[in-house]
Symmetry: none
Subunit: 208 residues, 4 copies
DNA sequence: AATGAATGAGGCTTCATTCAT
DNA sequence: AATGAATGAAGCCTCATTCAT
């Protein structure tokens, strides 16, 4: 994505950026149409290159597809572990912080395209699913688990059935993502209000 | 799947059942592979007929696809309106009843295949999305809204932000469906425990 | 090659003959142009069918290629074993008989196309080479060996170095085949005269 | 193959030798794979240069191909005319000398690759065929004809049918070349023994 | 009505050739 | 002169659709 402008006056070529641009174009097409329906010609056109050029960087359509998914797996959740560990305030403030971040990461973002891709093509690419689960999903769940544990220790979270399913806390986020991908036209979500309601629900749902 | 034998003497063919069997087979293939990657030949084989026969009942692959989605749109939610309207007990019992029903309808069921289909192919078939939203999604939301309204009137539900987003109540169900479709191998969901946690969360999250 | 005319008035279709016709067309194209340069479209056109039809009978271009070679491997040499074993006359008559037959089989015949194919594509298809060697070449050599052995026993063939290399006896045949494929325009072979010279040479070369 | 170091101080590049090295590399690839299947990239790699550099020396793949064939057409047969004209000894010694030389020239040598090339691609390159015939084949035949004529005059060769087909004398050589290219794995030729048998056969086959 | 062989458009992939550096 | 990235024409192959039986 970073395009180092060469110091020439004509920034026509940016060789080093090619693979990234192809991946970018591929993400758009794959996310919209799926693996089979996306055409390499369209991806090339979108990347501003010729069809054959893709093959200089990726061995096949499938390889490009996998590269696209992998490229968006690197989620900046790692920093959050620290944030959560050192957070000084109350659980509701922490939850607000984390959930807000999740929304920014996912909703209306290109990450939602990756999620759509995984839902559909997952069965044919178990490696990608496994990768995504390991690097993104399970990390998110772990963070939520830590928040819950911390909240229980602080006496702010009720140690009941809901506290044992951290995935429940993400559920509204995931649904918002998919709702946006699917029913946006019929029934849009007001993200701000939805996020507030989400936090409100979780805080009361878990509070001691 | 049940094949009612016609009272003819030669029970080898049941013409009337053909379209349904093709739709059934199509659902399996489309849900697993998506519209583009599913092959009519495989659908035919699964339905126990020849490829050309599909065209006796459907004009094209897309027509079959739409028929498949439409066939699963008829959700038995209508009855619930009445149930909710006449329910004598407390809100938590009513919620338990409805959510349990939702899980039975969706999770691990072929409906989840339709949901997957819609998530992916939705952009190319806005009519189907609109249909599904109108017939299924919005009906479900309406039912939940009524439950919430009823709960507030009965003083059992807190009239806060969470009460204004009935979609929040379904979110864990949707997530369970997609989680099952995607991460089942890596990280299965114990549906019973998850449902209990879900209800626990909602009841506390909404309770007055 | 045999085309059983259906008893319909329009002999438009001969399903059973299709694979044979494709192989026939493939032989022409492969023999003339080689595997890589032959185009499936041309083969189809030559066979009077559409490109895709080839794939109903053969999985790939390579499979067709192998089928083409295999189809011409069945050489009617087996009968000769008997002929040689029971031949009543002198060695020169027997040799004349066998060599004449070899010429009829190879020279100017489509078998020469197969030989050309094998010479070029052999390295990539060791199985075909092995098959051809086993079914055709080694059988021919065996027959010649038997003739030599019989001639020595009858005192008609000199038991010298030449008698120990039966391949020498076929050599002029092979060369005639390749000469015909290559230098026919510049320097044609008068097959009749060449065959006579060949026999003359061998008989004297081997005679006691 | 010998790379004469230019007297420049930087011996890393020897431009003058480039075309020859490309031709050398091309011969290997074309002989092994044929014109269509050989890849310029592989030829370049084998020559230790970049793909584009080939076009500095040859206009197209076909031009390179023709150059490859032409480069191996220059056969040192000319000297033999003299040798034969002035040979003092008997015909069998002369034949032995010439045939031995033929074997050295052809068998197991890269010339066999050229022969393979011509057999396959000949129809598309009549000029090359004509060239090869004129410069190599017909010269060889002429030499053999002279030997035969000389032998007849000396009363050492029988003036029969075999004497009128000098190509017969080369046939075992050609066959040995092709056998080596094709059936070497299944059924190798012991060249020494084969050559002896060949000479034995010819001498007796032609002797008066 | 059913079949499945045949068609041919469309998309992936290769690679000779070009071209900017 | 050399490089190797980029191009795009061409060919293999798939599969939705048609059609003769």
């Amino acid at each position: 994505m970073t395009r180092p402008q060469p110091d020439s006056q004509k920034p026509k070529r940016r060789k080093a950026a090619r693979p990234g641009e192809i991946i970018e174009a591929g993400l758009q097409e794959f996310a919209t149409k799926g693996l089979a329906a996306a055409r390499l010609e369209d991806i090339a056109k979108r990347a501003g290159i010729a069809k054959g050029t893709i093959y200089r960087y990726f061995d096949s359509k499938e390889e490009l597809f996998m590269a696209v998914v992998r490229s968006r797996v690197v989620l900046s959740l790692d920093q959050f572990e620290e944030t959560v560990a050192n957070f000084p305030g109350k659980t509701d403030a922490l939850l607000k912080l984390v959930l807000t971040h999740f929304y920014k990461q996912f909703v209306g973002n290109e990450i939602s395209g990756v999620i759509r891709i995984l839902i559909v093509e997952g069965p044919r690419f178990p490696d990608l699913v496994e990768l995504y689960h390991r690097e993104v999903t399970s990390k998110g769940v772990t963070i939520l688990s830590h928040i819950i544990k911390r909240g229980i220790e602080r006496g702010e979270i009720r140690d009941g059935p809901a506290a044992r399913e951290p995935r429940l806390i993400m559920a509204p986020t995931i649904m918002a993502v998919l709702w946006g991908l699917t029913f946006q036209a019929q029934d849009p979500i007001d993200i701000e209000q939805y996020l507030n309601a989400h936090i409100d629900m979780i805080l009361h749902g878990l509070s001691a």
